[in-house]
Symmetry: C2
Subunit: 605 residues, 2 copies
């Protein structure tokens, strides 16, 4: 039977053959998570996703959220799905069991999330944001705060959000104007308005916990004067019971291109002078707190985009096998030739193999980023931990920026494979494309990801993280070169990797020179090139494993899968990397037109 959402064989491959996640179980922290347990978790997640969450996908989009006088109702079907999701204890998979988490490796949580997000990413934002908000409480909360909030959030009894954006402060967070005034009892009175607040108000749970960025009266301007507060919808007493309404009022919801099942709210805090917040962490250290959580949040947005792409690919390949249209090209001249499934047409194959290669490469990359976190968690070696953290830091903008750019492309290709049906709401492809589009924007636009990669990550620690990453790629290259079938692919990746090093040096130097604007006009192309190289690495790594298994003599069913792995690497290194080389040539040219053109010359006046 055709699979949906994500290819289980591929999920298992990354977990057990590429990353060998059950190796973590050697460490006491993850002792319970052997292969069998991991497989059971993924199977259960997959069942829940297919049976209970996927059916909410289209209804969630069609019904959307409704706003009525400050109240927001989610699509009908979301309530049951949410209850099942939290009953299954899926919300805080990798977190501390003492607070309601499951203590599992993050990589396993990502594999489960692969199915959940692919089933309905708009739905998954409710538990996803709750998880993120709870992590802030866990990392920066006092014992009292943890006691009152954490378990209720990790178990999904209450949901969470993140109140950051204001009308004049989107990408420029430092410009926000929500204010906090200290009260005699140590709490703060919060006043301000926030927009674009995902899951900001809804009717699925009894309380919503808002971490809020605000400026304490008299604090410095810019990011240095921003503090983080916990602002619940209903106040929370010491025993965790709910008190009075905390003057957090939803003034409206956005009508959007996609993720319509998620309520994107405008919230007014303290409109009646009655909104009380508790400082979370230290005064004026709000941005630092946000930054610490940012890697996690950005990885999850990457997952969200990727999962749309994965689902789109599964749909496309299933459709292409079944949809009969036109003759096989080799029989075009034979009037009696039968019509064939469109998977036989070369242009459809091109689209499918492109989708396949990107989906596989992105899955490996995202799980790998999660796996690096797990390896830090089980390591006692500080130098190794720093090395792994450095690689995470440099990969995160790629996991968010590059992955969501490419995920959107994959979703568009997924529409194209369906032809006219791709444009019709009855089929899932157009919704996946619409849902996916937001991931390029929120949690730091992809332009900001690119600036982060070039401006902060590349030069971080004198370039050690990028060198470490390149070192890892070299290891795969050495293995691949030893396998005849992969030697050409490895040579192409090596060439691209060496060129990337040149490009990084060039752009890094330009960014430190008076031509800094020019360098940053190529930040996004640089992220694309770096991402392509990382994709090629992931696919070649997969191909090394596959070739080794085929050499050993794999089962028939596995043979197809492994063959497919080699073909993905084949396609990507021969059909995509030459384009990457061209992108890098363009960066080396460092055309000045974008920077030098006068504002008037853009026209339109």
């Amino acid at each position: 039977m055709a699979q949906v959402i994500a290819d289980r064989r591929d999920v298992d491959f990354v977990l057990h053959e590429q990353l060998i996640v059950d190796g973590l179980s050697k460490h006491p922290k993850y002792a319970e998570f052997g292969k069998k347990t991991i497989d059971m978790i993924v199977s259960e997640a997959r069942n829940l996703a297919i049976k209970e969450i996927l059916p909410t996908f289209r209804e969630g989009d069609e019904q959307g959220c409704r706003f009525d006088n400050g109240q927001v109702s989610v699509p009908e079907s979301f309530k049951r799905a949410y209850d099942l999701f939290v009953e299954g204890e899926w919300l805080a998979m990798p977190e501390d069991p003492a607070y309601g988490g499951q203590g599992m490796p993050r990589t396993v949580a990502l594999a489960a999330g692969d199915y959940f997000n692919g089933a309905n990413c708009a739905f998954m934002m409710y538990p996803g944001l709750t998880h993120g908000a709870a992590l802030l409480v866990e990392a920066f909360g006092t014992e009292r705060q943890k006691k009152r909030f954490l378990k209720n959030m990790f178990t999904g009894k209450w949901t969470g959000t993140m109140l950051l954006t204001e009308p004049e402060a989107g990408s420029d967070v430092g410009n926000l104007s929500t204010s906090a005034k200290k009260n005699p009892d140590g709490t703060y009175s919060i006043t301000g308005s926030k927009i674009f607040i995902s899951a900001g108000e809804h009717d699925m749970v009894e309380n919503i916990v808002h971490p809020v960025l605000a400026r304490i009266e008299g604090a410095p301007a810019g990011t240095r004067g921003i503090s983080l507060f916990l602002v619940p919808k209903y106040r929370v007493a010491d025993d965790g019971s709910l008190g009075e309404f905390n003057d957090v009022v939803c003034t409206g919801i956005e009508h959007k291109m996609g993720i319509n099942g998620n309520a994107t709210c405008s919230l007014t805090l303290g409109g009646k002078g009655n909104c009380v917040g508790e400082l979370l962490g230290e005064e004026n250290k709000g941005m630092r707190a946000m930054f610490l959580m940012m890697n996690e949040a950005r990885l999850l947005v990457g997952m969200q985009g990727f999962c749309c792409a994965s689902a789109s690919y599964m749909n496309a390949v299933n459709y292409a096998r079944e949809r009969v249209q036109g003759k096989n090209l080799l029989q075009m001249m034979d009037p009696d030739a039968p019509s064939v499934p469109i998977i036989q047409h070369p242009d459809v194959r091109r689209m499918l193999i492109s989708m396949k290669a990107y989906v596989e490469g992105m899955r490996s990359l995202l799980y790998y980023a999660g796996f690096l976190t797990d390896r830090i968690a089980v390591s006692d070696d500080e130098a190794e931990k720093a090395r792994l953290q450095g690689m995470i830091d440099i990969l995160i903008p790629i996991c968010k920026g590059y992955v969501t750019d490419r995920a959107f492309d994959v979703c568009s290709t997924g529409v194209q494979v369906y032809g006219g049906y791709g444009f019709i709401r009855e089929y899932p492809q157009e919704q996946l494309l619409r849902d996916c589009r937001i991931t390029m924007i929120y949690e730091g636009t992809n332009g900001i990801q690119a600036m982060d990669l070039l401006g902060r990550k590349l030069g971080m620690n004198k370039g050690k993280p990028i060198m470490d990453l390149m070192g890892e790629i070299q290891k795969t290259l050495a293995q691949a070169k030893a396998i005849d079938e992969l030697a050409d692919f490895a040579a192409r990746l090596e060439k691209a990797l060496n060129r990337l090093a040149e490009v990084a040096m060039h752009l890094g130097a330009t960014a430190m020179s008076p031509k800094v604007m020019n360098a940053f006009a190529f930040a996004h192309p640089f992220m694309e090139a770096a991402g392509d190289v990382v994709m090629a690495w992931m696919l070649l790594w997969r191909a090394v494993i596959a070739a080794t298994q085929l050499e050993k003599g794999a089962k028939k069913k596995d043979q197809h899968f492994y063959e497919g792995q080699i073909k993905s690497a084949h396609y990507f290194t021969q059909a995509v990397l030459p384009v990457t080389m061209g992108k890098m040539d363009a960066i080396m040219t460092t055309c000045t037109a974008a920077v030098e053109i006068s504002e008037d010359a853009f026209g339109g006046k």
Copy 2:
């Protein structure tokens, strides 16, 4: 004041400085269309588009079309806009005045259409399809058919459609099963079901004329047995008066990703055995008739996609000038530096100049294709006419396939410039992206355009058309090389052009070999590369004119515009053409993975 939809200065530049369209007025056919008249036409089109059509853009999307028991109602605001449009006699601008047309050059009609389509392309499908259907009547109709139908269609009193697609016959038209049975009076009884019929049923006019592809009983299978029929919704008497309902029943409309103001209908013909069609043209020559109209239809779909991109660019540049967010990168370290309009940020400038270059290049290309038709119309030289027609034939798949691919990318970038607001329905960007997406699919998917370019057009007439096109590009190169400022850009285009010739030879030869499947797996990348080269040509051509004008000493206001022309060529040749070179390297590698991978290896089973 900020311009909307399309940059008038740029429209005028293509008309009067690049193509010099008023030169056509030397010929008696277009004697009335001097510069002043052309400018007046464009101004009137622009006024109508901005004042009356643009206001229907969002309402058309939100209200959509409604289906009720066979009846379809269009969005409320469309009726007034349609009436004004046909009162203004805009429907058949380039057609014969004897039948209600305005007899103007097609290039001028395209310039007017630039505003109309950019204002609301879903609305424009009603007159656009009417125009296309009427052209079939004009080209293949008997005098009696022309007398009864043509003027009523060209004047917009009745609208038209095109009934081609069936559930099992989309891209594979030859597989259709709608049948026609000859009646004793020479008419045909039509029976069948059609889907995806744009403007197939609506409440704006009293009659709808459907050209229908169907198979006469006993006709050969495949495309060789298809005939074209005229099937009106209400039968039409000799005097043009309407008779009985012709048993064309709308059974439903599609809910779509975009172009929601246009009714996409399922139609059942002859469900009660009472649908009468008249043969249009000869028996079994329906496909030939379609092919003759295809260039026109594909050019218009290219326009439709392009106009979404043009509008998205205008919005983006206006927004980037007004939206204040973040500091200038050069002042990032100064805590007191003011926030600036985002047009100052290098990544925003990269997005804007990319949008600008593509929009300008696409505008020039599309108008140029129209202008070639006009030149044929005023030429008496058969060899020259054939040369021009060859260039049209080779450019059409680029005008449709390449342009709509790139237009969608531009629209996505236009969303990105807006940040979070780009995803919100209150702003136009997300709708332009949604509306644009269909243009990659209908009127022959872009995969089919690519196959047409590689499989039919490239080798047509022993490759003369592509050689002629390259000859035209060489002319521009010779001019550009003589201008110091453009010499580097010209050298880059020349290199790309020479490489394109190699790639075309290679792929053409591969397509004739047993490796034909491999060649066609690179049909789409080839279309991309060819399109990039044509874009670069158009932009360099523009830059030659601009540099010449600047040399002569242009007015201050024009200086900015001309500077912008040179910057577009600068950007495209230095930042995009290197990527094109990479794409061509990939084609030369002709990776076999897409063709060789087994169906099972695609996974998902």
